[in-house]
């Protein structure tokens, strides 16, 4: 394991509502993510997965606690710094791809670097590398509406990786894909993680997807209930996740 801390969450609390009618969604989460980690966070509906991801993505603010990202407390920095942090340090992958239908897949992938003022030649070189790694070279000139879900999601992962972010936050990345496309994507994610190109935090309800991660955290009722490591066998890891899921109960769909 790499010792460099990418994300460090301490006593994270998030409540919604007015003073007398507060609902606490996250009840003191502690989590440290090291470089080259591949973490899956699972939990039943309403357990706080999305809230946690929104806070980590700097889209939402916590009520209490600290979130250190690349050595900076994201709860205390200005909006301008936050935007810069999001742009430079974080890559996002969403369930519904969120590719822009106004541009080709290549332009979608290039967008973050183009906006950052990186020379076109370097951008094209980087796109070539990533598209080869994800098997979408042939699709680069196509528009999102001309692509399958799997191709779109691989394109979205390329876009997330192009800036060499410190961490990738993936929100149900296989949620909209069929099992074959989902499996291909997860293989790709694992490959880039294992080759040291990305630290990944994935939120999922799917034990199969989670079994591709190195560690799975189970979030329930706003708290981290347990953590299980993969070991060497993915299938055995998958079975353990299922067992854990059954023991915790709740709606994981």
């Amino acid at each position: 394991m790499n010792d460099k801390k990418v994300v460090e969450i301490k006593n994270l609390v998030k409540s919604y509502g007015a003073k007398d009618f507060q609902t606490t969604v996250l009840k003191g989460i502690d989590l440290t993510i090291y470089k080259d980690d591949f973490i899956a966070i699972m939990g039943p509906s309403g357990s706080g997965k999305t809230t946690l991801l929104n806070i980590l993505s700097t889209i939402d603010k916590p009520t209490q606690g600290t979130v250190m990202l690349d050595g900076k407390d994201v709860t205390r920095i200005s909006n301008k710094e936050l935007a810069k942090l999001r742009k430079d340090k974080i890559g996002f992958v969403f369930q519904d791809y969120n590719l822009l239908d106004t541009m080709t897949l290549q332009d979608n992938i290039a967008l973050p670097l183009a906006l950052d003022g990186v020379p076109a030649r370097q951008i094209l070189e980087r796109i070539r590398e990533l598209s080869a790694a994800f098997g979408i070279e042939e699709q680069l000139r196509k528009y999102p509406y001309q692509l399958s879900g799997g191709q779109k999601q691989r394109g979205a992962v390329c876009r997330a990786l192009i800036t060499n972010p410190e961490i990738i936050f993936a929100d149900e990345p296989t949620g909209a894909l069929d099992s074959k496309a989902g499996k291909d994507l997860l293989h790709c994610l694992r490959r880039v993680n294992e080759s040291g190109q990305a630290t990944i935090l994935m939120v999922t309800h799917d034990p199969h997807s989670a079994s591709y991660a190195k560690d799975v955290y189970l979030l329930s009722d706003g708290m981290m209930k347990c953590r299980i490591g993969r070991g060497s066998d993915r299938k055995e890891f998958y079975n353990r996740i299922i067992d854990l899921q059954t023991s915790i109960g709740g709606d994981f769909s």
Partner: protein
Amino acid sequence: MRMLRFSFINFRNGFKSYLSLVLSLSFSILVLYNFQNIIYSEAFAVLGQRNKQYIDMLIQTVSVVLVCFLFFFVWYATNVFLTRRKREIGIYIFMGMSNRKIGSLYMIEISFVGITALLAGVGFGVLFAGLFQLVMGAVSDTEIDVRFGVSYKPVVFTAVSFLTVYLIFALKGYWNIVRSSVLSMISAARQNEYVHRKSQVFIVKAVLGILVLAAGYVLANKGTNQDMLANALLAVVLVIVGVYLLFGGLIPLVFQTLAGRKSFLYSGQRCLWVNQTIFRMRKNYRTYAMVCIIGICSATALATGFAMRERYNNMILFDNQYTFQLLTNQPNLGEQAERLIRGEADIACQTSLEALSVDRDHLVVAYSDVKRAAQEGGLSPIVREPADNETFYLSHQMLLSLIMGNRQIPVTLGDEIFQETEVIRQPYVGYMQKQMGCFYIVSDTAYERLRQKSQTLYIHNYKIADDTDFERARAAIDVLISNTDENYTARVAVNPFDNDLEWIKVLHALCVFMFLVFIVAGGCIMFMKLYNDAFEEKERYLVLKKIGFSSRTLAASVAKELLGAYMLPFVVMTVSAYFSVNALGRMMYTNLFSIYLVSMLVVLGVFALCYILSVAVYRKNVGV
């Protein structure tokens, strides 16, 4: 009843999104009402019956143009509205509603929009009617009798015109929904948005567009002004077709080529706004073309107004060159006439000429005599002396004339045939030249030759220094009028307070208003289009924010995209309007370049204002 309530709730809740449509329609109604109101308000009645008749006729013509404009405007606006609403109301199909019911719902909803626009348009129209008349009077530099009050006739005309046009397109929308499939309704907003990226089609369209446009420009500007007028209709059609082809071919081609060059595209926000423009091009090119054509029309309308105004000024100068003129067979009447006038008024300038009555229909003047009179009367001299067999016809200033300066027409003066080679519009023989229409200049030699066979007449011209002395001076000189064979003396008096031509000034004001109406409408169309686009773009900008782009970056991209949207029609309009105004200037024998510049600057100003507003509203709507 339930449908009515449902539609009203829809309308009330979505009022914000209808606002641009309501405002644009109200503006058109306001303008139409105000023009009609001028006819019924009798504001121009003070100018006399004849002027009033002309002005009413002009306003009716302008109203016809405005109703035509309203037709296309409502067509465009309801189309945009329908596409937007179709997707939303298409969802009702899953609630078990039939197409017919959804169509009715749309009809009722759009009726609320129409009625609100009509009430607002007429309401503000009534409110601003007085101001409109005042401005009209000020722009036309005429005294008008501003009357505040509501006359039902303009309200009825405006309401009937608008509602008729509106109903046609509401029914069209209804029919469209009834015939739509579920799928097309749900995906309506996204339909047709993907640009067909066949470059060959774009290239053909672009080349055709450039050729057709160039042909239109050439046709409008070549040949004599008779040719230009004959070609005008074809030129207009070619320019319209050319502009559409240009926007449908050349501009997408340019943008697509730019997007293909990654070294250009991957630089700052270009990747965003260039792609965004391409994506919207198929739908937008018609809007750009329409706005561009409206802009060309507006610049031409303004130029027409100023050309007319210049003509008016020239006509007034021509008519008032001399206040009194005498045509007599008495050789020594000049001194007596001068004495009589001087008894009542100071004379600012006076000239005398000799003319030959060569036959019943023609009066001939000698070149050197006219040259001298021109100098004494402060007029520009004749360019050259006619040749011996040549004559120059002395015409007058006209509002519209197709007679060219140079021509070859045989004219029989006495018993000699001359070639009429020039038409001169300088008032060398004053108002008499216009009234009698029978004066010809010949060379001094020809004049002496004709003298033998003609009766000699004497023309005395006087311009009084103070116009207020006119009536007294006329009474004094009138004693000289005689109609006997021995003493034939006719008098021409030009009343400086005569306002028979005031309607031309109103025509000028109408043209200025048409210019403003067209250009504001062009701005409104662009604004409306972008306002609606913003709603469709909301999701896309949300994605961009989610993947980490700062609001500042996105705002810069919005500003650039919208700048392109306004600049594209402006650039094409600037080039096209140059040719149309130039053609008009040639037809009207005047240089309208400064008017062209002014009109383009005003267009730029209006567009800049709309651009600033569009950027602010767009940013607000997409949340950046």
